[in-house]
């Protein structure tokens, strides 16, 4: 298709998303309960697919005219018309959001139950989905914030779904609502400053004003803080490990894989489009924020035994890596190495796309496990691979992606990031010389710990023998759930096998030159002179693997494998499944090594036999790791706020006389001020 046809497609697609979203709401409200999941879910799949197509069209085509929103707000300053018209960067994130929404809605058709399958539940999902997909399409601050609030509002309502069944849901929603509004306030202030300084609310006006100096600095800090809160970066990540586990699983997938990406989109938009001339301390701030989040996130993830909480912390890690890559790009751009900077920006987008793919699969896989067993505590699972082979395979592929193993999307993305780090010329620039090796070490440790985390999640959850009755009775997920898992894991593999075409398309969204493909699928980064050809690597592996398998089959013919009821079990009888290593014990060496940053508290309770104190009848061991950031920053702040609130009580004691007195005093003050003016 020609660029102009694609641009027209974008306009149609934007309208289609809004209309299909309205259709989903309509279905949710009027269709009877029995078919509500199917009707509303299918409409949302269509919304997602429309979003993905629009995103791809906007990425490849000419700039579209966009969709005008005929709405005039009584603002104090000058206001540009409200417009939905994604630029290339926005298009990437719109495609990500659309893909994730489509997959999670498809999964939701089979998964949604209880309050998530109610009228409110599906309506909230539809509002959330449309808001999510319109955030990156917004071409001005007012539309952006409007879509942002639709996204926040819809997700908050859906997060509350299980509040009547589980108490932690309410607390999680409270944390989420507070943090998301903090984020909104910061963004409002940040954009307000930019709009006032530039004299207009549209991105084009703000970018055209060429802002710099302290105004830009203040706006950058406010916006970064706001977007970091949405993206779940340390230290404003606290809502993530609470909200993701408690939300219905298809919603967790959409929140983790797509919604937090909007924070990333915001940061990239600010440093690439609105304020592209940022000084180097911005870069250092972004790198510190990103690398710190990556390390802290994966460290916390590695010691979690709640599967969804583990995935939530791993989201902090992945988003941290994206932001670190953006920071690296900004730093290198500032030191004049545009080629390598482009590779870093490309790596950021690849990381974002890849995370969207594998994290959707992982959260949906966790949802499938939760659906089948009612458990999300790894310590109580096990043996699921033989009971739910589809889920296990999909989760395995997702875990490989998260652990950045070849040939998955995660590997390609981290490879690009590491190439940017290695090829930065650090000899001329002292700051670069310090930042690059430190970042590289952090990324490497993150990769290592990520490997451990996902081996743990996969191995403890799906391999060996079931640890509980619930896990032993697990059943495979329904057809729509399996379809969503299969499509998601195919995406992870496709991105890993053919990174070339995807990267060429993505390179158009950020200033990244010299990206081309080799042999149709491989990726060549001319700026740093490296090539990655996963298909070649796979063929080489197959060339080695096939003879091995042949030898193995020949040997197996001669001496077939024998099934024995009593396998080794360390030379003796096969012991009880309670003797298996579980998730807590798996992370034990790590808790020792990183003791001071994880702050694990352990308690061992020994119950003695009543006949003799020398005989032990029961030993109970519990271990809890606390989120140090939450403990040290948030809880004291909350206590302070409460104490301040108590102070107000001395003024407001409920006496009507006193309030009348206050009104009178206020009136007098106003009159006096007016008289003296």
């Amino acid at each position: 298709m020609t660029p102009d046809r694609l641009a027209a497609l974008v306009d149609v697609g934007l309208l289609a998303q809004a209309l299909l979203g309205a259709l989903a709401v309509l279905f949710a409200v009027v269709v009877p309960r029995r078919v509500r999941n199917a009707a509303s879910g299918s409409a949302l799949v269509a919304v997602g697919v429309a979003g993905a197509i629009t995103g791809v069209a906007a990425l490849l085509g000419a700039p579209a005219a966009g969709l005008r929103i005929p709405l005039a707000l009584p603002l104090a300053g000058p206001m540009d018309p409200m417009l939905l018209a994604p630029d290339r960067l926005g298009a990437v994130f719109m495609a990500i959001a659309g893909m994730v929404v489509a997959l999670s809605a498809l999964f939701g058709i089979g998964y949604a139950h209880g309050a998530a399958a109610s009228r409110t539940g599906w309506t909230a999902f539809a509002v959330f989905a449309v808001g999510l997909q319109f955030v990156p399409a917004a071409a001005d601050a007012v539309t952006f914030l409007l879509a942002w609030e639709l996204m926040a509002g819809g997700s908050t309502v859906l997060l509350l779904a299980d509040h009547a069944v589980r108490e932690p849901v309410r607390r999680a929603t409270l944390w989420y609502a507070v943090m998301t509004h903090l984020s909104f306030l910061l963004l409002l202030t940040g954009f307000g400053i930019l709009a006032a300084a530039a004299g207009g609310t549209s991105w084009a006006t703000m970018a055209g004003a060429g802002l710099g100096g302290p105004v830009a600095g203040v706006a950058f800090v406010l916006l970064t803080a706001g977007f970091a809160t949405k993206a779940g970066l340390v230290p404003v990540h606290v809502w993530l490990p609470r909200a993701h586990p408690e939300a219905p699983s298809h919603m967790s997938a959409a929140m983790s894989a797509a919604m937090v990406k909007m924070g990333v989109y915001g940061i990239m938009m600010v440093v690439l489009r609105l304020l592209p001339e940022g000084p180097r301390w911005w870069a250092v701030l972004l790198i510190a924020l990103g690398a710190g989040s990556a390390l802290y996130g994966i460290l916390q993830a590695s010691v979690q035994s709640d599967l969804k909480r583990l995935l939530a912390y791993s989201t902090t890690e992945n988003v941290g890596l994206v932001v670190a890559a953006v920071g690296i790009g900004v730093l290198l751009r500032d030191s004049g190495q545009d080629g390598v900077a482009g590779v870093a920006f490309l790596a950021a987008l690849l990381l974002a796309v890849s995370h969207a793919a594998f994290k959707t699969v992982l959260f949906l896989g966790a949802g499938s496990v939760l659906h089948a067993t009612g458990e999300r505590d790894l310590d109580l699972l096990g043996g699921l691979a033989s009971r739910m082979p589809w889920t296990a395979t999909a989760f395995g592929i997702g875990a490989m992606g998260a652990a950045a193993l070849p040939v998955t999307s995660g590997f390609v993305a981290e490879w690009a990031l590491l190439q940017a780090l290695v090829h930065a010329d650090a000899r001329a620039d002292r700051l670069v010389a310090v930042v690059m090796p430190v970042t590289m070490a952090v990324v490497a440790l993150t990769v290592g710990l990520g490997l451990l985390t996902f081996v743990k999640a996969l191995g403890i959850g799906f391999l060996a023998r079931p640890r509980t009755r619930a896990a032993a009775d697990a059943h495979e997920a329904g057809i729509t759930m399996r379809a969503a898992l299969a499509v998601g894991s195919l995406l992870v593999l496709a991105l890993g096998l053919a990174p070339g075409p995807v990267s060429v398309a993505l390179a158009g969204a950020v200033p990244a030159g010299g990206v081309s493909t080799v042999a149709g699928t491989g990726l060549v980064l001319d700026a740093v002179g490296v090539v990655l050809h996963p298909v070649g690597l796979t063929l080489l592996l197959l060339a080695i693997l096939v003879p091995l398998v042949v030898v193995n089959v020949v040997l197996a013919r001669r001496h077939p494998r024998r099934d024995v009821g009593l396998a080794w079990g360390s030379g003796g009888e096969r012991t009880s499944p309670r003797m298996e290593y579980n998730a807590t014990s798996y992370a034990e060496p790590l808790v020792r090594v990183f003791g001071s940053s994880l702050q694990a508290t352990r308690s061992v309770e020994v119950v003695r036999h009543e006949q003799s104190p020398l005989l032990v009848s029961q030993v109970a061991f519990t271990q809890e790791t606390v989120d140090v950031v939450e403990e040290r920053i948030y809880l004291p702040a909350a206590r302070r706020a409460e104490r301040f609130g108590d102070l107000a009580r001395t003024v407001q004691n409920g006496s009507i006389h006193r309030y009348v007195g206050f009104s009178f005093a206020a009136l007098v003050v106003v009159l006096v001020v007016l008289a003296l003016w």
Binding site: S386, G448, D563, E580, Y581
Partner: protein, 324 residues
């Protein structure tokens, strides 16, 4: 800048190199293990099983039937094969005999490390699959060590790559061969020492792990493969030995790049084969001799060793900016 993959002479040459390296790895690995075990036995005053014993062990194990417990997953059967395949792929990608690499799949540092990790993960999952306390324990320790080793691996080779400006291992080895003065500068020495620690940790040698122990609480590698038997165990043993060959071969070629061929000419390949075999066997014997005088570190002291090697690697990166 990089030609499309076609069957031109360059590809044939690199395929020749890869086949040579694979043959070398399969032939020399049991010999290397045999030399190491014999050295150790002689120094300890034992006779030992002889240099050919590892060959006989693997052959015997491969022709025995493996057992399977009910409810076990395909991981049990596929992990051993995957370990061998990933180790062989490692041997194919690392410049052992010649620095000529396949144009489309160059022995890029990050690709090589990820292939190494593929084997690591296969082993760790196998340990968990066994469903016993020992398997999980070994797997957990193995992954912890792998995670802590990771930064050192990347940083130390990063330091060596700074002067050449590329992350392809073959180019690094080639550049070091052409400029022998670079072998003795502090950057090079520091990162080689760091790499040696890495190899020891990744291949489970003393003082990180004792390859010949079956003392339950100190096992790492042996604990993971405790439940495997017969053919599975044969593959597992062979795969782990191949990792040693690949990693040790990489370090000796980085430290002493002489004799490594630059192309696929028959004479060069022959010289490369002979030198790498000699280098491997001598280093292996030295490593085994050093192990005799060493006790295994307590598991929770291992992170200190790894942190030390990380500091060395970091120092070498910093120094590389000053030197070059």
């Amino acid at each position: 800048m990089i030609e499309a993959v076609g069957l031109d002479s360059g590809v044939i040459d690199s395929v020749l190199v890869i086949v040579t390296q694979l043959v070398l790895a399969i032939a020399v690995t049991p010999l290397l293990i045999g030399v190491m075990r014999t050295t150790r036995a002689r120094l300890e005053g034992r006779v030992g099983g002889g240099i050919g014993q590892p060959w006989r062990d693997v052959a015997k194990l491969l022709s025995k039937e493996p057992l399977r417990a009910p409810g076990s997953t395909p991981v049990l059967t596929t992990a051993p094969i995957l370990l061998v395949a990933s180790s062989l792929l490692l041997c194919a990608l690392v410049p052992l005999v010649s620095t000529l690499a396949l144009a489309s799949v160059p022995g890029d540092l990050f690709v090589v490390v990820s292939v190494l990790l593929l084997g690591t993960v296969a082993l760790a999952l196998l340990g968990l699959e066994s469903g016993t306390a020992f398997g999980g324990m070994g797997s957990s320790r193995h992954m912890t060590i792998a995670a802590l080793v990771e930064p050192t691996v990347l940083l130390s080779i990063y330091a060596l790559s700074v002067p050449t400006g590329t992350s392809a291992l073959a180019s690094i080895v080639q550049a070091r061969k052409l400029d022998p003065t670079s072998l003795l500068n502090p950057v090079s020495l520091l990162s080689i020492v760091a790499l040696v620690v890495v190899v020891i940790a990744e291949t489970g040698r003393l003082p990180v792990d004792n390859p010949s122990t079956h003392l339950e609480l100190t096992m790492v590698h042996e604990a993971m493969i405790l439940e495997s038997g017969g053919r599975d165990l044969g593959w597992l043993e062979f795969g782990s030995w191949l990792r040693l060959t690949a990693l040790l071969g990489l370090v000796v070629n980085l430290a002493m790049p002489w004799g490594v061929a630059a192309d696929a000419a028959p004479l060069g390949l022959l010289v490369g084969l002979v030198t790498i075999t000699a280098k491997l066997l001598v280093t292996g014997a030295l490593l085994a001799a050093a192990e005799v005088f060493m006790a295994k570190l307590r598991l929770f002291r291992v992170p200190e060793l790894l942190a030390g090697s990380f500091v060395l690697a970091f120092l070498s990166v910093s120094a590389s900016y000053l030197v070059f």
